[in-house]
């Protein structure tokens, strides 16, 4: 029990949290700017994971170097989805009145369910269901009494860089300001002169790309298979809901909160309760604060 203050536990929680953070950031971008629940998020991560795997196995390319490729492929998928589905038909209208918006949200769920099914089964067809894995940076480093596997440290580092970059962009740059404005109120953003349409595409592409990157990072320590996406999807949703939908910084904090609950909660109770803790805390928190634990006011209608 005294190990609860150990650096080891902290390291595990940080690694887990950082992976949650990258994945959730992408999902939050997509929801915040488009108000669409992308239930195919985890399947995009799966694409990223396979990209890393094939680059490593066929080209000997380090997964850290193939991350941009994973990001690029997923961004391309986003562009295709946008061009093919989101700019025509009923979704192009994007009127902002209640009933239409509601029906659009429900229908958009269907689009992403369809996308998820397509991604999973194309991968299953192309790669078969056999799980894949590879060895990379699996030496263990000892530092300050904490043992760290190379690739876990690498994942943490890259995720930290992404997180800091995101924070910097959001806080300091014009783009960040524009994104925040768009998320807060698309109508107001348009009035102020922000090219909402272009930013939306950019946010969608970035969101998908981040999912791909998360997948690439995950691939270093987990089995890769066509149906590995659902746990990533559901974890990402839980994180962004807890942080408040559209609250990018809240989501980043919530990612670590969730990881800490999982890792330290288990330390305080018992490993049997790992999942019950995760979902229990989520449900409990949402029931107590229906707008998310860290939410500020974000216009949802």
């Amino acid at each position: 029990m005294d190990h609860i203050f150990s650096g080891q536990l902290l390291f595990s929680a940080l690694v887990l949290g950082s992976l949650y953070m990258v994945a959730a950031l992408g999902l939050n971008l997509v929801y915040g700017t488009l108000r669409l629940l992308n239930v195919a998020h985890g399947d995009l991560a799966m694409l990223g994971a396979f990209t890393a795997f094939w680059c490593f196995t066929l080209l000997g390319l380090s997964p850290l170097l193939s991350l941009p490729l994973a990001a690029g492929l997923c961004a391309l998928a986003a562009w295709l989805v946008h061009a093919g589905l989101l700019t025509r038909g009923p979704l192009a209208a994007r009127a902002f009145d209640g009933e239409v918006l509601q029906r659009l949200e429900a229908n958009s769920l269907l689009i992403f369910i369809g996308l998820s099914v397509i991604l999973q089964n194309v991968a299953a067809l192309a790669f078969t269901g056999s799980p894949r894995a590879y060895r990379y940076l699996d030496g263990v480093i000892e530092f300050a009494g904490v043992s760290m596997t190379g690739h876990r440290l690498a994942a943490l580092t890259i995720a930290a860089v992404i997180g800091l970059a995101a924070l910097a962009i959001l806080h300091f740059s014009r783009y960040g300001l524009a994104i925040k404005a768009m998320i807060e109120s698309p109508m107001a953003a348009e009035v102020v002169g922000i090219d909402v349409r272009r930013f939306r595409l950019g946010a969608l592409m970035t969101g998908f790309a981040l999912a791909g990157v998360a997948g690439g990072l995950i691939s270093m320590s987990e089995q890769i298979s066509p149906f590995m996406g659902f746990p990533v999807t559901i974890a990402s949703f839980i994180v962004i809901i807890l942080g408040g939908l559209g609250n990018l910084r809240g989501g980043m904090a919530a990612a670590f909160m969730l990881a800490f609950v999982q890792v330290y909660g288990v330390a305080l109770t018992s490993p049997s309760y790992a999942s019950v803790l995760l979902y229990g805390v989520f449900v409990g928190a949402l029931l107590l604060r229906p707008e998310g634990l860290l939410a500020r006011r974000v216009a949802s209608r």
Partner: protein, 388 residues
């Protein structure tokens, strides 16, 4: 000139027609396989065995059906890892597609789900990848289970192996899913009976993301043996994090995982010494069919067969093949032959009592220098157990 060509063409066409009328119809073998869904990770290890067998049989001129050579044709569908869909598919295979023979889907739930369908239609099928004490409750006569990895045998055998390997204090961790828990139920009393002290006994949910607390607990307990009743995903997690934290107990057992080639790809020599479930190895010289099968599989697929699932799948086909060679396709005759005969397989001789294989012992494999060897029981061991 034109008349000559026309006549030749006509002759060729008639000859082809005659030829195909003389050639026998193929034997149609039906099954469902989990190409999508929860089981789709494990099913390919079975599907590859099926494909290898079919292609080898066809290359040799076809399946011997009581003296007649006929080509083999598969009729299969995706059961989406849904056992009730499996039952639906087999119903269709029997009544609609009217296949000649049936072979098994992947996994215990799927096997049990279709037992009723086989019973209703009195259609015999040799099972393979099913392991649970529940199989004994199935009415015998239309389904058989060649595996020896049944939890109530695994428990006492594993405890005995641990004892023999010098384990005095053991840490047991188990996935909350049924097969793992079933094993846990039989393992704990068996360990007690062998006088091994259980210093850690924890279960965890199947989607566990971090095992740090669990592994620290194991390290601090001073256990000299770790038994992880784990499924592939958590076996992966265990191996990665146990290496990170330096869990160095000399005896480490993972229930399901090390036989999967992705496991070896990820952990290489770090996984040397791990013990796992399995009753087949290509190194057993007493089984002449084992090595050729292994070599053919590696040549065709470029990876090792799964020592449990792939071997079982192939065994079930060998049994079917020998039964059909003897009595043809009649269901009643097949039932009789399979229930009473002894068959030569890549895993040695197999004979059934009721639904269960009474010849193959419950066994364990150990990874030694990149090779998987049988280390228990002594009767079929191909190498001695080596502590890590």
């Amino acid at each position: 000139m034109r008349r000559f060509f026309a006549a030749t063409a006509a002759a060729v066409i008639i000859a082809m027609g005659l030829g195909s009328a003389l050639a026998s119809d193929p034997v149609r073998i039906g099954f469902s396989i989990a190409q999508t869904g929860l089981f789709s990770q494990a099913a390919p290890s079975q599907m590859t065995a099926y494909e290898l067998w079919r292609d080898d049989v066809n290359a040799a001129g076809g399946l011997n059906v009581a003296g007649e050579q006929r080509m083999v044709e598969f009729v299969f569908y995706d059961d989406e890892s849904d056992p009730s869909k499996t039952a639906q598919i087999y119903e269709k295979l029997i009544t609609d597609d009217q296949v000649d023979l049936l072979i098994a889907p992947w996994g215990t739930p799927s096997h049990l789900a279709l037992a009723g369908v086989l019973e209703a239609h009195q259609f015999p099928m040799v099972g393979n990848t099913a392991a649970s004490v529940a199989i004994r409750e199935v009415a015998p006569g239309n389904i058989w289970f060649p595996t020896s990895a049944i939890p109530d045998h695994i428990g006492p055998n594993l405890a005995a192996l641990a004892k023999q390997s010098g384990v005095t204090k053991v840490a047991v961790i188990a996935n909350l899913l049924p097969f793992a828990q079933e094993n846990l139920q039989f393992l704990v009393p068996a360990l007690d009976a062998e006088g091994i002290e259980i210093v850690v006994n924890e279960s965890y949910p199947p989607d566990i993301a971090d095992m740090t607390t669990l592994l620290v607990e194991i390290k601090e307990s001073g256990a000299d043996g770790v038994i992880a009743l784990s499924y592939p995903a958590d076996s992966f997690l265990y191996q990665g994090q146990a290496t990170e934290l330096g869990v160095d107990a000399p005896f480490q057992f993972l229930l399901v995982g090390p036989t999967i080639s992705a496991f070896a790809d990820a952990f290489g020599e770090g996984s040397s010494g791990l013990v796992t479930l399995g009753h087949w190895s290509p190194h057993q010289d007493a089984w002449p069919r084992a090595r050729p099968f292994y070599d053919a599989y590696v040549e065709r697929f470029g990876m090792r067969p799964d020592y449990l699932d792939t071997a079982l799948a192939y065994m079930s086909l060998e049994i079917l093949e020998q039964a059909v060679a003897e009595v043809g396709l009649d269901h009643d005759k097949l039932r009789e032959v399979i229930s009473s005969g002894t068959f030569e397989t890549i895993n040695g001789p197999v004979h059934f009592t009721g639904v269960e294989n009474d010849t193959t012992p419950t066994a364990f494999l150990q990874l030694q220098d990149g090779e998987m060897h049988l280390v228990w029981p002594a009767s079929i061991a191909t190498a001695d157990y080596m502590p890590r």
